[in-house]
């Protein structure tokens, strides 16, 4: 019995082994390019969420009474951090990864070196996560400067953003492994990212929705991220947070083999 279980376990472990020093070299390549272009690269990631915050907080917020005992701007600010970090990861590992893989053939160039394709994918995911954490953290600092981050628990926000970044980098990379053309990413954003953006409790409390939608929201990774970030921002810390973290960890671990598998199937005949 035990003799059989071990190789099986090893086979499963193989799916997680690409997160290694070879993957870091791929990450380092992307980071090198990022250092050349970071000003424009980051500006878009940061300006847009702040526009949302301004328009919805200062504009729509005038029409909205306090939500759950706080100003509307205070209510949406943590969600804006979560969504901007989500967009950063999703965009990096979809459009940008696709360009590297399909048009520039960078994956082909790298797999001729000692690095294998699974490690290329892992390196891309690390980079998507990095960009996500970076833009989420910068927005957090900006909203803190605006007085919207009352609790020191907010120092844990970057750790939550790591989970956020990993989850959405993986979801995007799955599409990159599948889509025939770059235009097909429109489906990913329209069917997955935008609904998540709108229905994860960023703009209104979940309890205004019908019960069935509230339950469905539990299936969305962004719902858990928003709950975590709002709690940490406001300092409302309880056991629920552990469950949100666990949900995200399990989600990340379960889908982790998928982008690797799909990319192999796509490129290696």
């Amino acid at each position: 019995m035990k003799a059989q279980a071990t190789p099986k376990l090893r086979k499963w472990a193989l799916y997680y082994s690409p997160l290694n020093r070879w993957a870091l070299k791929v990450f380092a390549r992307n980071l090198f390019v990022f250092r050349k272009t970071w000003t424009t690269n980051l500006a878009f990631n940061i300006v847009e969420p702040l526009l949302y915050l301004a328009a919805l907080g200062a504009g729509l917020g005038m029409l909205v009474e306090d939500v759950e005992g706080m100003s509307y701007t205070q209510f949406i600010a943590p969600g804006i951090v979560a969504t901007s970090a989500m967009w950063a990861a999703a965009a990096e590992c979809s459009y940008d990864s696709f360009v590297r893989m399909y048009y520039q053939k960078i994956y082909h160039a790298i797999v001729a070196t000692p690095i294998n394709l699974q490690e290329v994918v892992a390196g891309e995911l690390l980079y998507g996560t990095f960009k996500s954490v970076l833009s989420g953290t910068i927005i957090t600092i900006v909203i803190a400067a605006l007085g919207l981050v009352p609790s020191p628990w907010a120092l844990l926000i970057p750790a939550v953003l790591v989970l956020n970044g990993m989850a959405f980098s993986q979801l995007a990379m799955i599409w990159t492994g599948i889509v025939p053309k770059i235009d097909n990413f429109a489906y990913f954003f329209t069917l997955i990212i935008t609904p998540m953006f709108l229905f994860s409790g960023v703009f209104f409390p979940m309890d205004v929705l019908p019960a069935i939608l509230q339950q469905l929201a539990w299936l969305l990774p962004l719902y858990h991220i928003v709950a975590l970030l709002r709690s940490l921002t406001l300092g409302i810390v309880n056991i629920d947070l552990v469950f949100h973290v666990l949900w995200l960890l399990v989600f990340i671990l379960i889908i982790f083999p998928l982008p690797q598998y799909l990319m192999r199937r796509r490129l290696i005949k």
Binding site: K25, V26, A28, R29, F32, V33, K36, T37, Q104, K105, I106, H108, A109, I110, V111, A112, T113, P114, I115, N116, I268, K269
Partner: protein, 322 residues
Amino acid sequence: MPVVVEAQNLQKNYNGFPAVAGIDFKIQKGQCFGILGPNGAGKTTVVAMIYCFHPVSGGKLTVLGNDINDDPRAIKKRLGVVPQENNLDLELSVRENLLIYAGYYGIKREVAEKKAEELLYFFGLSAKAGQEVDKISGGMKRRLTIARGLIHTPDLLILDEPTTGLDPQSRRLIWEHLRRLKKNGLTLILTTHYLEEASQLCDDLIIMDKGVILDEGKPVDLINKQVGTKVIEVDIEPNRRNSLINSVKNLIRGYQLADATIYLFIPEDETEVMKFLNASDYANTYQVRPANLEDVFLKLTGRGLSYEDDTGHESTSYAKTS
């Protein structure tokens, strides 16, 4: 001489289609080994298996002493690859392309910088080191791709159609560089459909078509064995072909028909055949020239090595007119 690559009954199927249908070959250390054949012959598939990109469907493939299935990473550390399609990193400069690529091998920064300067100098790219890759010419991109394949000082360099799509001048420059690399003792594997490229560079070659090896050997031996030393091209009316062939068949080694031309393969001395052609009125025009690899290919397959390239226009190996 030590064997660097050995294939035994090597096979590759794509969805049931046999791209490589069971071939055997050996590549010795220090030689330039050519894989010659038209597009679709299976050349790229063979080299992609050697550099561990495509998994092998059947047979055995040993590279640098390792079975391909055992430890691809150990093999890939020691070989350099110049793919058919340029895949330079367009977001990096010429020099950065070499340095970042060195990073993939885990080469220390100082070592990589020194090696990069050497390679840039060797390939005449020093003046372009800071340029974006997009801005340099096609020939330079090709040379940079070769330089990139050498950044980790490999034991074996694989070049997949290294001069396809280049103008003749850039092509000759690349040949010159490859000759110098060979002189320094590097083992080269080269796929090509240019006969002149194969005869200029290769010590040993296999001629492939439709996934199988048609013949193998040194270029000169192959020509002598299959064709002879000279070829007379005769332009003739189709209805007079048979009678000409009957008249000269004791003087020739063989012949091949292609369009309006008969290629007469001459073992050594063409004087008798020429005398006959001069005296008779068979031929509209005729000329004698040294036999080349194109004749070998023509004889083996019954067709030329001309091919459709990616841009859609027909191009023929320019070795033909020599």
